[in-house]
Point group: C2
Chain length 419, copies 2
Amino acid sequence: LKKCTVALVGLGIVGTGLLQAYKMNYDKIENQIGSEIDFKYVVDLDLTTNRGVDLTGMILTSDFNQVIADPEVDVIVELIGGLSIAVEFIKRALKSGKHVVTANKAAIATFGPELRALARENNVILRYEASVGGGIPVLNTLAEKLIANQITDIVGILNGTTNYILTRMTEEGLEFEEALKLAQEAGFAEANPSSDINGTDSCYKLCILAHKVFGLTVDPQHIPTVGINNVSKEDIDYAKELGFRIKLLASAHKIDSYINLRVNPCLVRANHPLASVNAEFNAFFIKGNALGDIMLYGKGAGGLPTGSAVLGDIIDVYKGNAYPRVPEINAQMNTSSFLRYYIRLEVIDAPGVLGKVAALFGQHDISLESVVQRAKVSQVVPLVFITHVTEKSKLDAAIEEITAYDKVVKVASIMSVEE
Amino acid sequence: LKKCTVALVGLGIVGTGLLQAYKMNYDKIENQIGSEIDFKYVVDLDLTTNRGVDLTGMILTSDFNQVIADPEVDVIVELIGGLSIAVEFIKRALKSGKHVVTANKAAIATFGPELRALARENNVILRYEASVGGGIPVLNTLAEKLIANQITDIVGILNGTTNYILTRMTEEGLEFEEALKLAQEAGFAEANPSSDINGTDSCYKLCILAHKVFGLTVDPQHIPTVGINNVSKEDIDYAKELGFRIKLLASAHKIDSYINLRVNPCLVRANHPLASVNAEFNAFFIKGNALGDIMLYGKGAGGLPTGSAVLGDIIDVYKGNAYPRVPEINAQMNTSSFLRYYIRLEVIDAPGVLGKVAALFGQHDISLESVVQRAKVSQVVPLVFITHVTEKSKLDAAIEEITAYDKVVKVASIMSVEE
C-alpha cells in the first residue's frame, strides 16, 4: 500500500472514536508510517445524526456496494457489529480483495475459521484487536509478542458491565438489580444488557482468545457459560468474609491435551491481582511456560480506547502485518473438571444439621476447607462451605444427597473458586 | 536471514534462562518462523561451572574475537550486563554488521543514542526488550502496539527487590533492614543490593522508557532519584492509616512541552491498581490520549521470564523487525513540580504546636488535606500531614521555617503523593 484508503462501515460509538483517535494522533501516525490514512467513505444507514465528529472530505453513503466497487479502497473497517449484515459485509469485502479490520466479537467468535480462510484465499489481511479488551492490546501481545512462550492459562475479566455491577454490589452492599440500575445510569450497561449479564459477551471473547492462543476452533455455544443474574448480595458478603471477591471470569486452561473453557462467576482470593480489577475495567491474567504470570489491565470498552485499537489494526494492515497463522486444532474440551467450590445452603436450624451435611460431603470424598455457620436469626439459617479440590461428578452426587436431606431448605448457590 | 545463528555472550542467570526457554519452546518457534535458532557460540570467562543447561553442539569460548570473526554469526546476544566490557562488545558487534540483542539496562540507558546510531549506520537491528520489565513486553507494546496513541504518562514499579522489601514492611510491619534480610534470603535481593535500593536500577529503566515513549535523550544522572533506604515502618503505617501504600515509583509525565522524570518512594492510594502490585512483581501504568489507562503487570526479573524476552527479540531480529525509529528530542525537564506531599514531623508535645505548624504551611499558601496527631506517648510526638497540590519551592520554604521552629525536633520524612 502506498497510501492507505479506508472505508468505515458503521458510524456508532466505536466508529466515531476511531475518527477522533485519528484526528488526535494523525501527526504521530503519519510520521511513523510515512503515509496518511484517507478515510474516503463512511457507510451508515443513518446519514443525518450529528456524531460530533468532522466528516469533511469523506463520502457519506448508505450503499456498501459503492465501496466494494471502488478499487481505491484498501481497507474496510466493519464496525456495525452483530451477526447479520455485518458478517455478510466482511465476507464480501474479503472476497473483493479488500483487507478487513473489525471489532465484531460475535462475527469472529462464530465465523472465525471461515473468515480467516477467506482472507488467506484472497491474500488479504483480517485483523480484530478491538474485538477483545477494547484498548488493551491483548490479541497482539498473545499473537506476536509472547511467541517465545507456550501459554497454558488465560483467566480474564472480559466484560466491563458485569464487573461494574459486581464491584458496586461488593463495595456498597447492593443487590444485583440495584447495581444494574446504577450501571445503566452510569452508561456502563445498555438498556438491554442481557448479552453482558448472561455471559454471552465474555463467551465470544473467550472463543477468540482460545483461537489466538491454542489454535482452538470452538463453537461459542459449546462453552459452559453462566452469567451473574443469580449472584446475590449474600454470596458476595460470605465470599468477602472468607477472603475472596466474586468476579465473572472467562478462563481457558490447557491440561495435557485437553483445553478447559468456561465463563462463570467465581471466587477469587482478595490478594490476587484480578480481585482488584474493579468497576468497568477488564484484565487478562496470562501464564506462559517461560515468562510466568503477566496481567494486562485497562478499559475494555468505550469509543476512544476501542477506536484506537481499530486504528492500530489499520496501521498494521498498512505495514502488511497479518496475524501469524496459528495451526487450527479441534482439541477436546474436558468435561470432567477438578476445582474448589463455594456452596451456600439454607437449612432448618436444628441440632446435628451441620454434622450431617459435613458427613454427606465426606461420604463423597469431598473435604472442606472452610465452613461458616451464622447465629440463628430465623428458623432458616445459612450454611456456607468452601471445599478442597474435587471432581465435579463427586460434587454433583453430594449435592444431590444434600438436596434430598429434609433439613435442607435449598441449595442457594454453587460457584467455583479460581486458583 | 535464512537460518538464525546466534552467539550468546554471558552465561549467567538470564543466559541460562534463554537457553532453557528455547529448549522448552523450540517446536512452537520453529513452526512460527520457519527456521531453527542455532546457538553456535557461548562466550563466557568461566567455562567450567555447570549451569544445569545442555550446551551440546555449542562452541564454548572465552574469546569474543572468535564470534566477531565468524561470518555465520547473525546475532550477538549480550548478557554480561554493566557498563565496562559489555558496552565495548555491543559496539564491536554493531560495527561488524551483527545484529545485537541485549538485556543491559545500564548500557542502553547511558549509551542508547550512540548505540542506536551505530546500529543504523551499520544497517543492523538493536533490540533490548529484556532491559526493562523482564518478561513483561512493555517496550514492544509502547513502541509497536500503542502507535495510535500519544502517551502522556508512565508510572511504574520497575524494581522487584525494592517492591519486595516495601511489601514485607507493609504486610508484616518490619523495619527496612529486616525486610532487606528477608529479600536476600528469598533470592530477591543481591548480596550487594545498593543499585536496587538507591533507585539506580529503576532510573536506568525509566531512561529507556522515556526514550521509547517520548524520544527523550537524557543522562540517567540528571533524573532526580531517591531510593528506599529512608522509608521507615512509621511512614508505612501512617500511609496505611491515611488510605495509601508506599511504593518506589519511576514516573514520566509530559506536561505541555516539558517532561518530568523522577524516581522516588511515593504514596499511592490503596485502591489504585499499582497499590496492589506486591512482592517481586513489576507493573507499568500507562496513559494514552485515546486508550486511557492500561497497566502491564508481571515478573520483572528471573532467568526464564527475562530469557523469554531475549528470545522474543531474537525472533524479531530474524523477522527483520527493528524498533520503529523515534525522533530523538532533548526536551526540557521541568524542575518546578506541582504535587501533593506527605510530611512527618517529630515535635515537642506542647500546647499550640499543631496550630503553629499549620499556620506556617498556610503562610506559604499550602493547604492541608489530612492531619494525624497521635496521643502522647513520650515528650516527642509525631505530626503527619498530607498537603493539597503545591509548588515544590513553596514546600521548601515552608519546611525551612518549620525546621527552624524550636518545638520541631526534626522533619522525619517528606514524600510525594502520586495521583
